[in-house]
């Protein structure tokens, strides 16, 4: 039977392609079904190209401030089109990288849309495939607009990240609706490319899932550089014109109008669960629209698993990676280490970056935990002073009795890199004392992590 495999995976995004590699490593005959480019949203229209654009934005800002560092760069001219072209090359390289990994691991890639059939079968077009061991659904998610207030994505004046990533030039003005990671990052990018940006968040503060102190720090930072930040602000009406959108925004009881050439919808994603035969195969969804899975990520149909965004939040590539590994190992008969979902780091790559793991201080309060907070600002860190990256802080929340690291929150230029020290600590159940005992090189921004740990014990050295 040429179309028989041990494992068939629907979707070649982060969760799917990692599951494929791991399954192949474990000797399973593996097929991966993908209708578009390998790498999914992350590689093609998500994580990777935005990081390229954010770096362009970072360079623009550096050049504008370069004079202070003794470098005269003249008038800084930005060209979003060029930056966009570069980000496409980066995405293509990464997608080709995934293609190479599939070949290297002898994973059969099937082009097309996989549709689940009863009995661990998958149909792609007119071809039928059969899995001996498991079918893994990793079909991911997509952006969605807010049609209920007239903000349906029209791809010209009301766009999503999908379109923003392909603009030839930065618009003169932009309203970004939603101040989660996506909204924050695009606000940062377009502002650096000269767009007048208004950031609108319906919840009381931007980065609503992060610690309140992180939200405050970013609000200040954005306002200081000229991004308008409207938090607790509801778009009540949208008037979508041909080359302009007028929004009625209600914030703190006051009404105001926001006009912009483009509205970027950065709120909410929808999972791709339609037209892939889930119902026919007996795979049920939960009340929030995600595929219903047990703790082994098996769906309501035995032998069918779901991983990544379709299996539930957090909708993060690295969470999908890990689920891919775990399911592949399970299918191969291994007993993988269970996933600790409270230990998935969350990172927003705007400037300064925001990274966190574990509980926020508000969550600690809600749970009535007995905790102590340790903080260390980068303004007191020698390395940060040298680079001029003094914005932000490290905040560690520890359990009062045992010193367990309940949560850690970092705002600062290298926050996305620094958070992993605390991820390792939490995964291994180190307490703040083990973090502090590890010798941190001087001068580094990592020292702030050790100092925050010390501060939670009431004995910070450099503060």
């Amino acid at each position: 039977m040429p179309n028989q495999f041990d494992v068939i995976i629907l979707g070649g995004g982060p969760a799917g392609y990692v599951a494929a590699i791991r399954a192949a490593q474990l000797g399973l005959a593996t097929a991966l079904v993908e209708k578009e480019k390998l790498g999914g949203v992350c590689v093609n229209i998500g994580c990777i190209p935005t990081k390229a654009l954010l770096h362009s934005a970072y360079i623009a800002r550096l050049l504008r401030e370069a004079k202070e560092f003794g470098i005269e760069a003249g008038a800084v001219k930005t060209d979003y089109g060029v930056a966009m072209q570069r980000s496409r090359r980066v995405s293509d390289q990464n997608s080709k990288g995934v293609e190479f990994l599939m070949k290297k691991n002898k994973v059969t890639v099937v082009k097309g849309t996989g549709v689940l059939q009863p009995g661990k079968k998958v149909k792609v077009g007119s071809d039928s495939y059969e899995a001996r061991k498991a079918v893994i659904v990793a079909t991911g998610s997509r952006v969605k607009g807010l049609p209920q207030i007239g903000l349906e994505i029209n791809k010209t004046t009301v766009i999503s990240s999908d379109e923003a990533l392909f603009l030839e030039q930065a618009p003169a003005s932009m309203a970004v609706v939603g101040a989660g990671a996506v909204g924050m990052e695009f606000a940062d990018i377009f502002h650096a490319f000269g767009t007048k940006v208004t950031l609108i968040e319906v919840l009381p503060r931007i980065l609503p899932l992060e610690d309140a102190e992180a939200s405050d720090a970013l609000t200040k930072s954005y306002k200081k550089r000229g991004i308008e930040v409207l938090a607790g602000a509801k778009v009540t009406k949208a008037n979508v014109g041909k080359d302009r959108v007028a929004l009625d925004v209600e914030a703190n009881g006051a009404k105001q109008k926001v006009e912009a050439a483009v509205v970027l919808m950065a709120a909410g994603r929808a999972v791709n669960t339609e037209n892939i035969g889930l119902k026919e195969a007996g795979v049920q969804l939960n009340d929030r629209g995600f595929i219903k899975v047990d703790q082994n990520l098996q769906t309501t149909t035995p032998g069918v698993y779901a991983i990544g965004d379709v299996a539930g939040p957090p909708m993060l590539a690295h969470k999908g990676f890990r689920e891919g590994v775990v399911v592949a190992e399970q299918v191969a008969g291994r007993r993988p280490h269970p996933i600790k979902y409270d230990n998935v780091p969350s990172v927003t790559y705007c400037h300064p970056e925001v990274a966190s793991i574990g509980l926020t201080e508000d969550q600690c309060k809600e749970r009535k935990l007995d905790y102590v907070v340790g903080r260390f600002p980068f303004s007191a860190n020698g390395r940060a002073r040298g680079t001029g990256e003094t914005e932000g802080f490290v905040k560690i929340i520890r359990d009062k009795k045992y010193g367990e690291i309940l949560g850690a929150h970092i705002v600062g230029s290298p926050a996305s890199e620094l958070i992993h020290e605390l991820a390792v600590a939490r995964e291994n159940e180190y307490t703040v004392e083990e973090v502090e005992l590890a010798i941190h090189a001087h001068p580094t921004m990592s020292e702030a992590v050790a100092e925050a740990a010390l501060d939670s014990l009431g004995r910070a050295i450099h503060m």
């Binding site: 045992y402 367990e404 159940e429 180190y430």
Partner: protein, 420 residues
């Protein structure tokens, strides 16, 4: 001056002890050498003695509680002396410091260096730092928990699971009768439950640890031979007739003696493997495996090669009795150079024994059975016994072991050879 009472290492391998019974109570006057408490070690129940004169204070360990070696369990203070900061007895506030007690009450309690085992103990269990702290705070013994983390590491989840269960595995909180009998090895289930979790007793833990360091890392090989015991039986009968009321010689005594004598002729088998060297013993100390309730222990007959048979018999009897009542002193079960395990009385024909490290060998003795044997072209009924030697191949090679076994066989088949 206050003297701290530590849980002492009352056996060489003891890492923790269960406080069986306090002989002195809070506020009692104690003298150096007096028994403060009975402690169950991994081998036996031992007396913990006072190391200072004074009044017993701050008794921190309840009867039935298990604590690691080196843990402070009480303090002996001078009469009238206030107790150092920490847990109060509720009384020291009213007692004015005597003129003699010039040392301020808050001065740290002098730390008599606790036995060496204490320091190593804390790091022996694999546990996350958080699990360690939680266990310390709540008095849970990490050794009693099964780790579910990577590589069997005890993590927070395991402590939470343990806390949710009744006191079975949490030694600190188990209420215990004043003098608890040694736990019965296998409780009979009346509940009809498919299984019952019974915490490891100290001795069972030690057996597990010691034997796991044997069969795993020690490259064993086995040699079996069948010994004709006809003449040994005749010799035994003759000796016992002659002894009359003065005592009895058993087959086991003869086997112990013969083994010891054979070892003097095969020093290569009377050795300890010591990682970077081999210690060949000139003295012969025979360990004798004794089954006790819930385990086994190997008391030692020292210099068995030079002791008369009757004395070996008497010593073996005494040691076995002591082992069964768990009153063996450490010097009575340490230092053997070779061991003998005899399951003949259980009708076992033949078995292999696990080497007791660092010894290099052990013999396993089966039962004496009448068998038809061809002697001089005639089939005769003969009493035969199978012995199997386990050898540590790092010390003993096949021919070396076989040579020893041949000598032992000769001695048993012809007891007169023991005189040679």
């Amino acid at each position: 001056m206050a003297t701290t009472v530590f849980m002492e290492a009352l056996s060489p391998t003891m890492e923790e002890g269960r406080l069986v019974k306090w002989h002195k109570r809070e506020g009692d006057a104690v003298q150096v050498g007096e028994t403060l408490a009975e402690v169950e070690t991994d081998k036996a129940i031992m007396d913990l003695q006072a190391r200072a004169d004074g009044i017993l204070r701050q008794v921190a360990v309840a009867e039935g509680q298990t604590v690691p070696v080196g843990k402070e369990i009480a303090v002996i203070v001078a009469p009238g002396e206030a107790v150092a900061a920490g847990r109060g007895t509720g009384e020291e506030g009213r007692v004015a410091p005597s003129p003699a007690a010039t040392v301020p009450a808050a001065s740290p309690v002098p730390h008599h260096s606790p036995p060496a085992a204490a320091a190593a103990d804390a790091t022996r269990v694999k546990a996350s730092p958080l699990a360690r702290r939680m266990a310390k705070e709540s008095g849970v013994d990490l050794q009693l928990l099964t780790g579910s983390g990577p590589g069997g590491r005890v993590v927070r989840r395991d402590l939470e699971t343990a806390a949710a269960r009744p006191a079975a595995t949490v030694s600190a909180s188990a209420p215990v009768a004043p003098v608890p009998p040694p736990p019965s090895p296998i409780p009979v289930s009346r509940t009809g439950a498919p299984y019952e979790d019974v915490p490891l007793t100290q001795i069972r833990k030690t057996i597990a640890k010691r034997l796991a360091t044997s069969l795993g890392p020690v490259p064993h090989f086995f040699l079996t031979t069948e010994v004709d015991m006809e003449r040994a039986a005749e010799a035994r009968d003759a000796l016992n007739r002659q002894l009359g009321d003065r005592g009895k010689v058993s087959f086991n005594d003869i086997i112990l003696k013969a083994t010891a004598l054979a070892l003097t002729k095969h020093r290569a088998c009377n050795a300890w493997f010591q990682e970077d060297h081999i210690r060949y013993w000139n003295e012969v100390h025979i360990g004798m495996a004794v089954a006790v309730e819930d385990g086994l222990i190997t008391p030692v007959i020292r210099n068995a090669d030079v002791k008369p048979l009757l004395e070996i018999g008497r010593e073996a009897g005494d040691l076995a009795d002591k082992a069964r009542s768990r009153r063996l002193q450490p010097h009575e079960y340490t230092g053997s150079t070779f061991s003998v395990s005899n399951l003949g009385m259980f009708d076992i024909d033949q078995f292999t024994a696990v080497i007791n490290p660092p010894e290099a060998g052990i013999i396993a003795v089966g039962s004496i059975v009448q068998k038809p044997v061809v002697v001089d072209a005639t089939v005769l009924p003969r009493r035969r016994m199978r012995i199997t030697m386990s050898c540590d191949h790092r010390v003993i090679d096949g021919a070396t072991g076989a040579g020893f076994l041949k000598t032992l066989k000769e001695m048993l088949e012809n007891p007169l050879a023991m005189l040679l």
